[in-house]
Point group: C2
Chain length 543, copies 2
């Protein structure tokens, strides 16, 4: 089982050092500490295990070290920053693993940019040696890139010429969309195995500057000092500790405190229940700071995030996730009221930003989601987003018992999708006025009102409910899992595209295609033959 | 060899009737008139041959029948509008053919929308029977959709449930992005093999209205009359005739009047030469109308379009196309001056719009393009777009002979890419002020000025030119063709995405992936087993 929980004391590949407003996040990959057998992580190359630690570090920088304003990403190995994803790992992995590995790595890169955009942190990639492939993709996710000029070190994206695959962890998209490198130069760079060194790399916009070895460290220090001198009053801290999540697991169940995941493996679906908060919730930032990671929204979304990652990597045959909530909807709305009222406080802002990222992780999870709204549920505010993120929403129409869903201020923009829209805006692209009506309305919707408002897909009555849900589950899990993945990736992201959605929609889809092609993974493919005495042999037919 | 040239007298599957400002474009597919062996085109299902005729008809409506303001798309077969792409054809086609077939079909759908947006034509899909799969995708490319209510006829996208692939000819994207169908309803609809009939189809926004059989024809007539009564003064006509292109071809060459394609098959690249116009060009709309399809920009771009389509479908191993121009750059700029000055005239507008579509076809062609700028070339204005569309631009730096490229007014917006930007804007995303500088500058750029302005990738001198070009060609054609396709699709479309680019970038890339998956095309896949007594068997692992 792949475990996504870790903490700095258990890092094997990274060192996180905090010094006031500065953090040094240094890569020092242990080549034998791999997640699977059959490869060695030489030259700071990485596998999923390395990236799980990086993701953890980025998250902890936000919650545990909010006072940090500059993060220097560098390597502890001489002359090499990072050689990218380990090729032998890729070559021996299943298609599904490769795809999910890249997706998680992409999410971590986007999380760096999210922290830069929203948490007052500036990320400096201090390339003390060559950054190639995923190594340069990590650098390009940072705000600034500095390369040592030692006559040898270069930045490169050698995937196309050496491996016959793409720099698919955002690399190509970030080249032309983030750094806005001229497309013909991006073309040359992406087909040049050896990459480019300081002078031309700077001229083409691939790095921000370069310095000789003797001055490199000094130049980085100087830039750090400069940034720290100009940061204007982003007040944050003291941080809170993110303690390990407690999970009880059995063969077909993972039970966290607020999240419960039940696997119906023979029927290829899971029930995911999110429990609302009990009463007695803190209402001031001080009280929340005091509760720390036990505060309901933070703990619940950490658990939800872990459950989603667990499903992606460990339960590939679970094709459908039925989303349930249980609890007092009023308490959920109270939480949202507190969050909305205090969103200028650093911790509250971080909690909301974290909820947004977890919901985006759900949007990007290649499984079908049905929200099932039944008596005792609490789909209000932030939990209503679960229903809005689902591919379908079923809500029981029970004459004997009123069930309600509810909106909160958080549905109005605090929890955006990757495309920049709220889930309500995405839902009502044809009738944008409905978004306002729903948000300015009474706030509560019983089944008929919810159906009328367009919040639910189907509202069966209690006579039909059980059969209809059973049939819907059976039908969904009988369909081609690949067709569903492609369909959901198309229907979930209506409207505008952003750099993030371009990475997942355009670049990733092409990479998935290439990861299937004989020219990459066939017996004579480039990925298969990398590092072997044999040469790849291509079928040169263009498609 | 697949031939893309046809005309209404040779249509086998469509009937085009013109009556004043109204056109009826009726589908009546002859089931035995297939492009390849091994399938029959039952129930108005289509193959590439059917779509080549449709593409021709749409283009002729613009040039030959500019006075047409309403196009009624319908079927001459009772109770069936169109059953979509022929499944047996798909099941027996190579991956590359499937992908190129879908791309061409998508381009034809986009051409319908382009005619609607820019040529004062409104397209009505009069669904006199069921429209399923690609049949509904054709309907959804029209402006209005009307369905007969005969108790049986429905609209449907049954690809996911029946075939394990996507409605990949724009269907999913147009559902949520064009018709803005609510995503959960789009999800239900796209997994419902039998589709939806009149009432619910209208309620969900899939069609605009439905009428009982007895009133259907009358309702269509009434809507046509209504549209004709309200069209406000789009003046056009009389049309010009599009005569067959004259092509001389030998084993390794296709020579048109202005376009010359030389195939270097053993080296897997082609030289594509576009010749500029001779002198004595018409300068007024009347003179141009008189010249008709012999007018240089129209004839040249028709030839270029045909050459690109020829390469895509008939020469899969040609991985790189070297773009050359030959002629007097002043004459090219004269043409652009005439076009720009008269762009309000219907024919001039159509010519410019056609140039834009051909250049977009080039942007979407999955081959590498290098522009080679040498003495005697004429990369000015509209032909400069060829260089800007190329993945790289090489311009000779010859001390003995000045070579120039030049801009014209047409580079400023008349020939946009699918993403809505000009090619200059796409090129200079990081420095938008350069676009203005280039357009407002002296207009001519010698090699050094062009390099300084960022218009060329490399400018080798005459000592290096030959070797450098040879090596660049050798290197390019040695790379994985799949990786290049994915890389070019990512680097060519920096910046914003539109519905068009989402169809090609997101939907198509996912469809390409699915078209490779064993769950679709494997021995037990859904596409392979369609119509057979055997059932598909899926590997249910989600990726």
């Amino acid at each position: 089982m792949i475990n996504f929980q870790t903490d700095p004391e258990h890092y094997r590949h990274w060192r996180l050092e905090i010094d006031g407003a500065r953090a040094d996040l240094s890569m020092d990959v242990q080549e034998d500490e791999t997640l699977a057998d059959g490869y060695k992580l030489k030259l700071n190359s990485y596998d999923l295990g390395v990236d799980i630690e990086l993701a953890d570090a980025i998250n902890r920088l936000r919650f545990e070290h909010p006072e940090v304003k500059v993060v220097v990403l560098t390597s502890l190995k001489p002359r090499i920053f990072c050689a990218g994803a380990n090729i032998y790992m890729l070559g021996t992995s299943s298609h599904a693993f490769k795809v999910n590995f890249c997706k998680f790595t992409n999410e971590t890169r986007c999380a760096i940019e999210d922290a830069s955009a929203h948490s007052g942190k500036r990320f400096l990639a201090a390339l003390n040696g060559t950054a190639s492939g995923g190594g340069y993709e990590l650098a390009i996710a940072c705000d600034e890139i500095y390369l040592v000029d030692d006559g040898n070190s270069a930045v490169s994206l050698p995937e196309v010429p050496l491996l016959g695959v793409l720099p698919g962890t955002g690399g190509l998209t970030r080249l032309v969309d983030k750094r806005k490198v001229r497309r013909d130069r991006a073309d040359v760079f992406s087909t040049l195995a050896e990459g480019l060194k300081g002078k031309r790399a700077k001229e083409w916009g691939l790095i921000d500057d370069y310095f000789p070895t003797s001055r490199f460290q000094e130049a980085i220090e100087s830039r750090v000092t400069e940034i720290l001198g100009t940061t204007n009053g982003y007040k944050a801290g003291p941080g809170i500790k993110l303690n390990p999540l407690q999970v009880e697991h059995s063969a077909d169940r993972r039970t966290y405190q607020y999240v419960d995941l039940k696997l119906n493996r023979s029927k290829r679906y899971a029930d995911l229940v999110v429990h609302g908060p009990a009463g007695g919730l803190p209402t001031t930032p001080d009280e929340i700071q005091e509760q720390g990671d036990r505060y309901w929204p933070l703990q619940t979304y950490r658990e939800l995030d872990d459950a989603l990652l667990y499903l992606r990597l460990n339960e590939p045959e679970i094709g459908l996730i039925c989303l349930h909530t249980e609890g007092d909807i009023d308490q959920v709305l109270e939480v949202d009221k507190t969050l909305a009222a205090n969103r200028d406080h650093w911790l509250i802002r971080e909690i909301i930003l974290f909820q947004a990222r977890v919901l985006q992780r759900l949007d990007l999870t290649a499984r079908s989601f049905f929200a099932l709204i039944e008596p005792g549920s609490c789909f209000g505010g932030n939990l209503l987003e679960l229903a809005l993120a689902a591919d379908r929403v079923y809500m029981l129409n029970d004459p004997d018992e009123t069930i309600t869903v509810a909106t909160s201020e958080l549905n109005a923009g605090a929890l955006p999708m990757g495309n920049g829209l709220t889930r309500l805006e995405s839902r009502f692209l044809s009738t944008p006025e409905k978004v306002r009506e729903i948000l300015e309305g009474p706030g509560r919707f019983d089944t008929e009102a919810a159906e009328e408002a367009g919040l639910v897909t189907f509202a069966p009555d209690d006579l039909d409910w059980e059969d209809e849900i059973r049939v819907a589950i059976e039908e969904r899990t009988s369909l081609s899992p690949d067709a569903l993945t492609g369909m959901e990736a198309s229907l979930r992201f209506a409207g505008p595209e952003t750099m993030d959605t371009k990475i997942y929609g355009r670049l990733t889809a092409w990479q998935n295609w290439i990861f299937q092609r004989p020219n990459a993974v066939g017996e004579k493919g480039a990925l298969t033959n990398y590092g072997k005495p044999t040469q790849p042999q291509f079928d040169f037919k263009r498609t």
